[in-house]
Every structure is written in structure tokens, then in C-alpha cells.
């Protein structure tokens, strides 16, 4: 029988193929899917998150570990029942309309995954309707919007208006080089974070409310 700690260790080491093989094997062996998830994948990514906080791990380790975890999750997802995934929250992420800059948003996504959130990244140049549609589909707790340019950050307000108008319950969190707390307050965003590590803390705070 595949030891679930081995899956956990492979996630921490970012061994993508190893995680896929072990998860598949564990499933074939008839092990409880919910346990494979929590004691293998989630346990692994939680340790990665802790190692990042303590300064042992950096972004490259986080990204590779998150990739490994997501590959394992792909195998388990069809087998999981609703409520089996105990995540920290569901987040929909995207870059504002007219803006194609995405590296910051992608790093936020990785760090949120590292902290146990389920993240759907809708990409760049995302219009308000798409943000709202995906947030509804995923029953999102948070919509995260990024904008680099001063000319595109003005579009963030459109998303907030569209989301409120459609009765979407998700909190809106924003960031980007030109975005500030002042701007976030002005347009009625629920949260702002100046960098990816702070975004995790802010997301945790927002899901509690």
C-alpha cells in the first residue's frame, strides 16, 4: 500500500510525476480518496506554506509543489464528492480589462494555493461579465483583480459594480503596481494587498468575515 506520507513528501519536493504515479496507485489500491487528498496532497502543500513563511522555501519551490499538488488533485477530482475538499476558500483571479500583465497575479495564485485556497485563474484582459460568470460558477468566496497600468486600474471598479449588481457574494480583493489602499477604498473594494505574501493574509481575513 502506498504510504500517504510518501505523497506528502513528493508534493513538498515538487516531484510532479512521482505524485501522479503515487496518487493513481493509491486510488487503484482502493484507499479512501478523501484521505489521499488530506493526508497526501493537502498535508504536503500546508508544509510547503509553512516552509515559505519560515524562509526555508521560496517561490520556485512553492510553484513546483503547487503544480505537483494540482496534478494529483486532477486525478482525485472526479472521484471526490461535494464537501470532500476542505479548502481555505475559493478564489477567482484575473487581470483587468485591457491589461495583459499577469506575473504578479500568477504569483498570488500560487501563494493562495500554497495556503490551501482553490484558485481559478481566468487569465488576462478579463471583462466584468467574465469575472462575474466564473465567480458564480465556482461559488467564489473572493474575486481577485490585478492591474499594472494606471489606465487599466480604472476598469476594476466596473467589476465591483457588475458583481454587486448580479448579487455575487464574493469579496473583491485588488492589487497591482499602481493600485493603493486609497484607491481600493475609493472604489469600494473589500481588500487590497501590496504584494503576494500579504495577499494570502488578506484573503484569509476576508473569508472569515
Amino acid at each position: 500500500m502506498v504510504a500517504l506520507t510518501k505523497i506528502k513528501d513528493s508534493v513538498i519536493a515538487g516531484e510532479v510525476d512521482e505524485v501522479k504515479d503515487l496518487v493513481k496507485k493509491a486510488v487503484d489500491e482502493g484507499q479512501e480518496v478523501k484521505k489521499i487528498l488530506s493526508e497526501g496532497l493537502i498535508a504536503g502543500i500546508n508544509i510547503v506554506g509553512n516552509k515559505y513563511e519560515s524562509g526555508e522555501f521560496f517561490l520556485p519551490e512553492m510553484v513546483i509543489a503547487a503544480t505537483a499538488m494540482k496534478e494529483g488533485l486532477k486525478i482525485l477530482s472526479p472521484l471526490l464528492k461535494e464537501g470532500d475538499i476542505e479548502s481555505a476558500g475559493t478564489v477567482v483571479l484575473g487581470t483587468a480589462q485591457g491589461d495583459i500583465h499577469d506575473i504578479g497575479k500568477s504569483i498570488v495564485g500560487t501563494m493562495l494555493e500554497g495556503a490551501g485556497f482553490m484558485v481559478t485563474d481566468v487569465g488576462v484582459d478579463v471583462g466584468p461579465e467574465k469575472f462575474v460568470a466564473v465567480a458564480k460558477e465556482k461559488n467564489a468566496d473572493i474575486i481577485g483583480i490585478s492591474a499594472l497600468l494606471t489606465t487599466t486600474m480604472v476598469k476594476i471598479e466596473d467589476v465591483i459594480k457588475a458583481a454587486r449588481g448580479a448579487g455575487v457574494k464574493a469579496k473583491v480583493m485588488i492589487g497591482g503596481a499602481s493600485v493603493t489602499q486609497e484607491f481600493a477604498d475609493k472604489i469600494g473594494a473589500d481588500g487590497y494587498a501590496p504584494d503576494a505574501p500579504s495577499a494570502v493574509g488578506k484573503a484569509r481575513e476576508l473569508v472569515k468575515k
Binding site: G55, L59, P60, I107, D195
Partner: protein, 476 residues
């Protein structure tokens, strides 16, 4: 004069970077988000996929583009005394570009930048000896988004008679700027002959040309306005973690862009401008590090190998305050960077993500020191002064010598840096350099006047603004 020099990459290494870049263009290719640009590439024989917005570019096209691009450019200015030539002999300086925040000298507060700030900073830049070109040092966040670009250009045009550098987010932005510049110089031909404006075009790393930006550059090229192509990969996040890889990537992004611009407008003036950096692996932000300066140095050398005019950042850093960190970060790499002689050295006035008027003054002094350093020393019979030494003799002094009188004024003297003894400095108020710089900015703003634009130009500006506003209202 014997000038200090610098050597860095070998010819073989320069060739290796070039070959790697060509391989990237031929194999990995570029995402080109403009069908207009894809058409241009397809017509020239590149392999193009319109659905994926992708093209691979054959090495032969790179070779042709490098042959077509002008090797020197004459930059014009509203006041022709401010014209200068980009001929790889002397660096000229431009202000840092486009942060959205100001470090307010009065309140010490970091706040969003507005049009009035840009007007003041431009006037200071107009005054300073070591600034030759003005790139809007801040974004006019008090102006509606689509009009910001245009308003920034108009503001700098009104507040300096030096060369103007800006950028376009769309072809229309470029067109409006060309129209205003044409009104200032009098005709399209004159603008082409001696452009009073140039424009930065960033590349989105890795390997992506954004639609508005590349179409803006094509528009500039039609008018003969030089385009400063500036890829900005960050080693480890948007470029390979190993610096050489990010250099090869940056170079590939430049070359592919050059191919498009030279096919669109053969002979269009283009500057080589690396914007590389290295990543902070804790946050994904960028970090100040020697590797970033070294990459810039190597790419400046590569630009010279290509015989291209270049624009390179020389004064970057991460400090948000005008403090010791800002000072040492700016000073530490400027001399090496300038020894490689980029045509335009970029970064005057910048702090971490913002700008301050005081920093403009201080950077002007740092540059002045560096420029004197670059000139080197004269070693000959006159300067060896063996006769004078003999005359003065052991234990004598040189102050009263005719030789001293003849040459002492050639020695470099700082404009604002403190040179006094402790007691005298104390008597003068024990001022820190930031305070001295602040007093200087007040003095400049109170006394330095810039000639307003002629009435006919202001009329043209009004016409352009009206059309721009209509365009903006139409879009919203």
C-alpha cells in the same frame, strides 16, 4: 586625454548571445497580438499563425533589419541649442519614466502624481545641465485613463525646450503626439530630419508584442520619430534565472521587434534599450542586484556591436526615500555603465517606484561627477610639471605658482555636495544634502522660466485634445 575604458564580454560571447536570440526567434517565436504586424511578417516570409497570434522569424530577416536601421540619429529639440547626436561618443541623459507616485518634498508624503507635479518636474529638468531629454517622470493620474498619455506629452512639451521622450499605448496616441510635434517644428519633413520627440515601446516578456504598443511604434516610424524598444524581462520570473538567458531573451525580443519596425518603415530610427532586472524570490517583485547592472552592461556592449543607438538605465535602485540607500544604489553602477557609452542614459530623478524633485537635483550632481570621470586625465610634459616641482622644491607649496593659477579652474567642483570643514558646515546650518537639494528645487521653480509654446501650436494642441476627448467619449 587618456580615458578610462571598460572591457567585458568577448567577441565569442557576443556572438553566442546573438545566435541564441536568433534561435529563439526561429524556433520559439513571438506572440504578436496585432494582425497588422503579423501581416507585415507574413509578407516578408515569416511563418505566421493568425489564430494563435504567433510568428517565428527567420534569421535572414534579422540580418536585413540590422542593416536597415540607422546607426546614428540627430535628436532635435524645441530650442535647437538642445539638439544632440546619438553617435556612441558621449552619453546624454533622460529622466526616469512613468512612476505613478511622487515623494512630496514638503510633506514627506508618498502620493499619486498629478499634472501639476509633472509640470514642475519638467521645468526643473529643463534647468538642469545634465538632463538632455525629458521622459514624463510621472503619470498624470488626475486625467481620465485614455487621455493620460496625451496630457503627459502636452505637459512636457509646454515645460521644456529640450528633447521629448514619451510612449504610446495605441496608434492613436502616437498619431496625436506626431501631430503636436509637427506643429512645433513646422513640417513633417523637418520632424523626420530632426525629430524633437522619441518614444519608448515596452515589450511584454517573455516574447509578447502587445497590439497597441507595436502599432503605436509603426505609427511613429512613419513620421521618423525614433522608437526606443525596451524589453523588460525579470530573471527568474519572466526570463530565465541565469542572467545570460535573460540577456538572450531580451535581445531576441528586441530583434524581433526591430524586424517588424524595419519592414513597416525601412530605415526607421530605433534605439536598443534593455530593461532587464532580477527577481526577488520571496515576493516575485524585482530586486536591486549587481547581476542586473551586469546584464545592462553586456547588452549595451551588444548594442554597440550591432552599431545601434542605445538607451540604458544607469541609476536604478529600490529605496523609497532619498536616503543613503538611494545614494549608494545610484552611485555604485553609474560609472561602469557610462564607460560602455550608451547614447542615452536613463533614470534621472527616480526612487523606488516614485520620483522626487530633490532626487533630480542630486542625480544631476552624481552625473556631473561621472561625466568628469569619463574624460580621464592628460599626461604630458605640461601636466607632469617636473619643472614646477623643481622650482617649488622640497617643503615648498604650489599655491602661488603661475602653473597652478593657469590650471586650477579645470578641477571639478561639486554644485551642491558639501565641501566645508565641520565648523563651517555647522555654521551654515548643518544641512543634510536632501535639504540643500530641496532649497535648490524651490530656487529653480521660483526663477526658471520656460518659453511658452507659440500660439499656433497651442491652437493645434486644443484641436488634438478635442478630437482625443471625442474619441474617448465614443469609446466609453
Amino acid at each position: 586625454m587618456s580615458k578610462p575604458g571598460i572591457s567585458f564580454l568577448s567577441q565569442e560571447e557576443l556572438n553566442d548571445i546573438h545566435s541564441a536570440s536568433v534561435k529563439i526567434l526561429e524556433k520559439t517565436g513571438i506572440k504578436v497580438m496585432s494582425h497588422k504586424a503579423l501581416d507585415i511578417l507574413k509578407k516578408a516570409g515569416a511563418k505566421v499563425d493568425y489564430e494563435a497570434n504567433h510568428a517565428t522569424i527567420p534569421g535572414a530577416l534579422v540580418g536585413e533589419a540590422l542593416k536597415r536601421v540607422p546607426k546614428t540619429i540627430t535628436y532635435g529639440a524645441r530650442n535647437s541649442e538642445n539638439d544632440f547626436v546619438l553617435d556612441k561618443q558621449t552619453p546624454h541623459f533622460t529622466t526616469t519614466g512613468m512612476p505613478a507616485f511622487v515623494l512630496d518634498g514638503e510633506t514627506g508624503e508618498r502620493r499619486s502624481s498629478v499634472t501639476a507635479d509633472l509640470a514642475c518636474f519638467t521645468r526643473i529638468a529643463d534647468y538642469l545641465k545634465n538632463v538632455h531629454s525629458v521622459w514624463p517622470m510621472i503619470v498624470t493620474t488626475d486625467v481620465p485613463g485614455p487621455l493620460q498619455c496625451l496630457m503627459e506629452f502636452i505637459t512636457i512639451a509646454r515645460n521644456t525646450t529640450k528633447h521629448l521622450e514619451h510612449e504610446a499605448l495605441t496608434a492613436l496616441d502616437a498619431q496625436y503626439q506626431v501631430e503636436i510635434a509637427t506643429a512645433i517644428v513646422g513640417s513633417k519633413e523637418q520632424l523626420k530630419k530632426k525629430p524633437i520627440n522619441s518614444a519608448v515601446q515596452c515589450v511584454f516578456s517573455p516574447l509578447t508584442y502587445e497590439k497597441g504598443l507595436i502599432e503605436g511604434s509603426i505609427e511613429y516610424g512613419k513620421a521618423g520619430v525614433p522608437v526606443v524598444v525596451m524589453p523588460m524581462p525579470l530573471a527568474g520570473t519572466t526570463g530565465p534565472v541565469t542572467p545570460a538567458g535573460t540577456m538572450a531573451l531580451n535581445n531576441a525580443e528586441f530583434l524581433g521587434n526591430l524586424v517588424i519596425l524595419e519592414l513597416a518603415n525601412p530605415g526607421a530610427p530605433v534605439l536598443y534599450s534593455p530593461g532587464v532586472g532580477v527577481s526577488n524570490f520571496k515576493t516575485g517583485y524585482h530586486r536591486w542586484a549587481p547581476e542586473a547592472s551586469l546584464m545592462h552592461l553586456g547588452l549595451t556592449q551588444l548594442a554597440r556591436y550591432y552599431e545601434l543607438p542605445s538607451e540604458v538605465g544607469v541609476m536604478g535602485g529600490g529605496s523609497k526615500l532619498l536616503d543613503a540607500q538611494a545614494g549608494y544604489q545610484k552611485a555604485i553602477s553609474i560609472i561602469a555603465a557610462l564607460l560602455m557609452t550608451p547614447d542615452i542614459a536613463l533614470g534621472v530623478g527616480g526612487l523606488g517606484g516614485c520620483i522626487s524633485a530633490e532626487t533630480l537635483i542630486i542625480d544631476n550632481e552624481i552625473i556631473d561627477y561621472a561625466l568628469r570621470y569619463l574624460l580621464g586625465l592628460e599626461i604630458d610634459d605640461e601636466t607632469l610639471a617636473v619643472d614646477v616641482i623643481d622650482k617649488v622644491g622640497p617643503g615648498g607649496n604650489f599655491l602661488g605658482e603661475k602653473h597652478t593659477l593657469q590650471y586650477f579652474r579645470e578641477g571639478w567642483v561639486p554644485e551642491i555636495s558639501d565641501m566645508d570643514t565641520f565648523e563651517v558646515w555647522q555654521r551654515k546650518g548643518s544641512k543634510a544634502i536632501a535639504e540643500v537639494a530641496k532649497e535648490k528645487t524651490k530656487e529653480i521653480l521660483a526663477t526658471h522660466k520656460v518659453a511658452p509654446l507659440p500660439e499656433d501650436v497651442e491652437k493645434e494642441i486644443a484641436r488634438v485634445l478635442k478630437r482625443a476627448e471625442a474619441e474617448f467619449l465614443k469609446a466609453s
